[in-house]
């Protein structure tokens, strides 16, 4: 392992790494060692064209670009001396010669590397008196991305991204010299499952997403670390929050999960949180068959009454549980414990399936299918089969995943049941057959953990509050358990202690604590549970 010295600090590097890569590996890049860079990106091939990351390497006459200079043992690097600073200022001045400086109307302002580096490493006043390049300000690159050619600094990250990550290669640099522009090939458009990442990696305001542009100034946004719930990959994200509203998801780097990317579908799934079809009120069905709005206490009371009647007449075996892979481990563990205390054996988890690729997009379209299985939920199909066979009179349903996956054949499978208790985030056909409905929280609204397809436990923290009364699924179940007088349920619900109990009772979760798991998550222990074929 070569050791090298950067500004007097000794750093160990893996074999074959360049200076920037080695600093990035060590977590020091722009975090202790400042080497500004545009074209270099940790997850893309080295380009070496912006020339901003030049550093002095002792014994080498010319300045070297840190992105493409391999670390050698005992190499001595200077990143902050006058020669390096002068070179940086030179690059910054040249980059700004043709930049429109339209920051006041630019969406990138506030998270713009051209702004940041101009402040940190640039010259304050431009010496250029020449007219700047006049180019197209509003180029429609495709369904998701709008391109401002004037702002582009031609770092070509977007070009390399399309070639290397989705491997669709829609973008290229056309023309040459100071007439160079990024474009799609004639007759094509930037349209792939990951297209919006180009806006994240664009260091300036050239590429913006059609969805987010002009919505809000980024300095009003708080970046809350979270997990995308679009599929079982569990991509790490920041939820951009202001005024108790999520404005966007952007990828949060996690080299063990999603590198620095998320798919477009996952990114757009933030719209679920404030969707108009969110369930807002508890409802119970009256004798005339109408749903009446009630408070949670009344909803619990009605649900408990219906279940108690069935338990007393037919025993707990006629009650089934259908879980959602959108629920957190803590919700699911509480539900599983509830069913066990009740004496019901019939439970399973429904998982919506869809298309997958070999990059990030997974077949299971929910964040916690693996967690649900680990906690003891089998396949929902078995539960539905029992319901269809007439052996079930009541079902407690978390979410409408089973409906979406087509397991229920619209809602008919549940239509004849004595009691359907629905805990859900969004409206669905299940409302038509439910007797008790309780609105529950989205993953962005509660603390909880999820297990992704690679069996990594990751945490989501509350980023927003719904503007109406909602509850975590686990909390509703806990109160229902208390109302039924089940053992181990006193009506209280503390997500931290649920997580601790999960860790104490399930070997795979041993040592996992919501407070210490961190934003990067950690792998689940190998479980003795036989792996199911999926």
């Amino acid at each position: 392992m070569p050791k090298f010295t950067v500004d007097g600090r000794e750093i160990e590097a893996a074999e074959g790494r360049t200076i920037l890569q080695a600093l990035d590996d060590a977590g020091l890049l722009m975090n202790g060692v400042d080497i500004p860079h545009y074209c270099w990106h940790p997850k893309l091939a080295v380009d070496g064209s912006c020339r901003l990351c030049q550093v002095e390497v002792e014994g080498v006459p010319k300045l070297q670009i840190a992105c493409d200079t391999p670390v050698r043992d005992v190499m001595v690097v200077h990143t902050q001396n006058d020669r390096v600073k002068a070179a940086r200022e030179g690059v910054m001045e040249l980059l700004l010669v043709n930049h429109p400086l339209d920051c006041p109307i630019c969406d990138q302002a506030g998270e713009c590397k051209l702004q940041d580096y101009a402040y940190d490493y640039g010259v304050r006043a431009s010496r250029s008196k020449e007219p700047r390049r006049a180019l197209k300000k509003n180029v429609d690159l495709g369904p998701t991305i709008v391109f401002d050619q004037e702002r582009c600094i031609l770092c070509r990250r977007c070009v390399r991204f399309c070639r290397e990550i989705p491997k669709t290669g829609e973008l290229s640099v056309f023309n040459r010299g100071d007439r160079s522009v990024i474009e799609t090939f004639p007759g094509t458009s930037l349209d792939n499952d990951y297209s919006m990442n180009v806006a994240d990696i664009c260091p300036v305001g050239a590429l913006t997403t059609r969805d987010f542009r002009f919505k809000i100034r980024v300095w009003f946004l708080e970046d809350v670390p979270g997990i995308c719930t679009g599929c079982s990959n569990g991509c790490n994200i920041y939820l951009g929050v202001a005024n108790n509203k999520v404005y966007r998801y952007v990828p949060r780097r996690n080299d063990a999960v999603n590198d620095t990317w998320i798919c477009d579908a996952g990114r757009m799934s933030y719209r679920e949180i404030a969707a108009p079809d969110r369930l807002r009120e508890c409802e119970v069905r009256d004798e005339a068959g109408r749903l009446d709005p009630v408070g949670l206490d009344r909803a619990i009371e009605v649900a408990a009454g219906r279940l108690r009647r069935l338990i007393d007449s037919k025993g707990p075996g006629v009650i089934a549980g259908l879980a959602s892979a959108h629920a957190s481990n803590e919700d699911l563990f509480t539900f599983r414990r509830f069913l066990a205390a009740l004496g019901s054996e019939t439970c399973g988890v429904a998982v919506v399936r869809g298309k997958a690729d070999d990059l990030l997009i997974k077949e299971e379209k929910a964040p916690n299918a693996e967690g649900a299985r680990e906690i003891g939920f089998g396949d929902a199909r078995a539960v539905v089969d029992r319901i269809r066979s007439g052996a079930v009179d009541a079902v407690i349903v978390l979410g409408h995943d089973a409906l979406q996956e087509g397991l229920l054949g619209s809602e008919q499978a549940l239509a004849g049941l004595d009691t359907v208790i629905l805990l859900d985030t969004h409206a669905s056909e299940l409302q038509r057959v439910a007797h008790v409905i309780v609105p529950v929280r989205h993953a962005a609204e509660k603390l909880g953990s999820f297990v992704n397809a690679a069996r990594r436990v990751q945490r989501a923290v509350p980023a927003v509050e719904s503007g109406w009364e909602t509850f975590a699924d686990g909390e509703v179940i806990a109160r229902l358990g208390a109302a039924l007088g089940l053992e181990g349920f006193d009506g209280s619900y503390d997500v931290h202690s649920v997580a601790r109990e999960l860790a104490a009772t399930h070997a795979a979760f041993a040592g996992i604590d919501l407070d210490t798991i961190g934003d990067a998550g950690r792998p689940l222990a190998e479980s003795a549970r036989p792996r199911t074929e999926r």
């Binding site: 080295v46 380009d47 010319k62 300045l63 030179g90 008196k129 020449e130 031609l154 040459r176 010299g177």
Partner: protein, 431 residues
């Protein structure tokens, strides 16, 4: 009357013979004797050692020792190795390779064959600029002749050695003369230089170990093998042996090609060989080695034309394209033409080059229009300085150096434009 250089030595000696471009004519003057010697009597190592001893410097502009370049090719590689002949002669002021292609295609092919033997290359790609249609035709004709006589292809001269030569025609970009820009273009991609390392000897054409040499460089090789290193060193200076073909253009009585030993004083070439400036006017400045090399003022023409001397005058031999400008020349106009050229031809990858070439050109054009202040002259020099030695290839240097040279020696021309708010050289050349 065939077009031949005014002064000839070994390279161009027989270029006046009508049949010299043909294989028969070339062999009449001893052609392919050196290749036969190399392939049958010498080991590849011996050939490389000979070229190193001869001290042959690359004639494409950078002057890198050819034998050393060949020795960088990996010895024990199971990957095919390639040679590339750079015939993209695109440096303004250069026109020496053209005649070597037109009149001496077999001489170049023989040099290629010897280099192939020395490096173990399986194929040579000759990249000829698209504008050189007739030269390319001549090369293709010569290649066909060589194949027919088993000087190329399988079992060359009965030795079992195989070598193939292919011609690729360029599409007109200056940057495709840069060796890695050329490689990209050869592969069918946009001609944008590659970052180095890896150097072509490790990762060249189509990812294979590759050596790129200029047309003239290859053309010297048969003579070195035939007559020896000492003979070669009898021409030129100790550090810069051999002859080269100087192409003289501009304000001279006899513009044209002159094959002369390296180290010949620039003044001798301009005044004695090329006849000096017509009409009794005085020389103002001379660009010694193609447009990317810094200009020399009239007072510095005593310099011997070899890099060791030219470097002391902050310029270089380049491609030996000598451009003479007389006293009527507006050096701001020259700067304007040069900066426009480099702005137009920059590939646009590196920030300094893409933005710097455009910025310089805009400043110079404003100075030329009489719309600039003296501070703009400072900025112009400063921008050139910011571009130097900081980019993927030497194009930015090539764009910056001539501007720096013009500012160094002819600053007064720039200042006068600013003061008079117009060009003081009425009737200076127009394009």
């Amino acid at each position: 009357m065939l077009e031949t250089p005014y002064v000839t030595r070994y390279l161009t000696e027989h270029f006046g013979e009508p049949d010299f471009p043909t294989l028969k004519g070339y062999e009449r003057f001893g052609g392919y004797r050196a290749a036969r010697k190399a392939l049958t009597e010498m080991s590849p190592e011996e050939v490389i050692e000979l070229v190193k001893t001869a001290g042959l410097q690359g004639r494409g502009g950078a002057g890198f020792p050819a034998g050393m370049k060949w020795s960088f090719m990996p010895k024990d590689s199971d990957r095919p190795k390639y040679l590339v002949c750079n015939a993209d002669e695109s440096e303004p002021g250069s026109f020496k390779d053209r005649i070597l292609l037109e009149r001496g295609a077999h001489q170049m092919l023989e040099g290629i064959l010897i280099a192939a033997w020395a490096t173990g290359a399986t194929t040579t790609f000759i990249y000829i600029r698209g504008e050189y249609a007739y030269p390319a035709d001549q090369v293709e004709r010569a290649i066909a002749e060589a194949y027919a006589k088993r000087y190329l292809g399988d079992n060359i001269m009965g030795t079992g050695f195989r070598h193939d030569v292919r011609v690729t025609r360029g599409a007109g970009a200056y940057i495709c003369g840069e060796e890695t820009g050329l490689l990209e273009s050869l592969e069918g991609k946009k001609g944008q230089p590659r970052k180095k390392p890896p150097f072509p000897a490790q990762y060249g054409a189509f990812g294979m170990p590759t050596t790129v040499n200029n047309v003239e460089t290859f053309s010297h090789v048969p003579h070195i093998v035939d007559k020896g290193a000492n003979w070669f060193r009898s021409f030129g200076t100790e550090k810069s042996p051999g002859t080269t073909i100087f192409g003289v253009s501009g304000h001279v009585v006899r513009p044209g090609l002159y094959e002369l030993p390296l180290g010949t004083p620039l003044s001798e070439i301009v005044f004695e060989h090329a006849g000096g400036v017509p009409g009794g006017r005085k020389v103002k400045g001379v660009i010694p080695g193609g447009m990317s090399m810094p200009i020399l003022p009239a007072g510095q023409l005593d310099v011997p034309m070899a890099n060791e001397f030219l470097r002391e005058r902050k310029t270089m031999l380049g491609t030996g394209g000598i451009m003479v400008m007389d006293e009527t020349t507006c050096m701001v106009r020259v700067a304007s033409v040069i900066s426009y050229f480099f702005r137009d031809e920059s590939c646009g990858q590196c920030t300094q080059c893409r933005e710097g070439t455009g910025w310089m050109n805009k400043i110079v054009e404003r100075i030329e229009r009489g719309a600039a202040e003296e501070e703009d002259i400072e900025v112009l020099g400063d921008v050139a300085g910011k571009m130097e030695a900081k980019t993927i290839c030497a194009f930015a240097d090539a764009a910056a150096w001539p501007i720096q040279g013009l500012l160094r020696h002819f600053r007064d021309d720039f200042v006068e434009h600013v003061r008079q708010r117009k060009c003081p050289f009425a009737g200076s050349f127009e394009l």
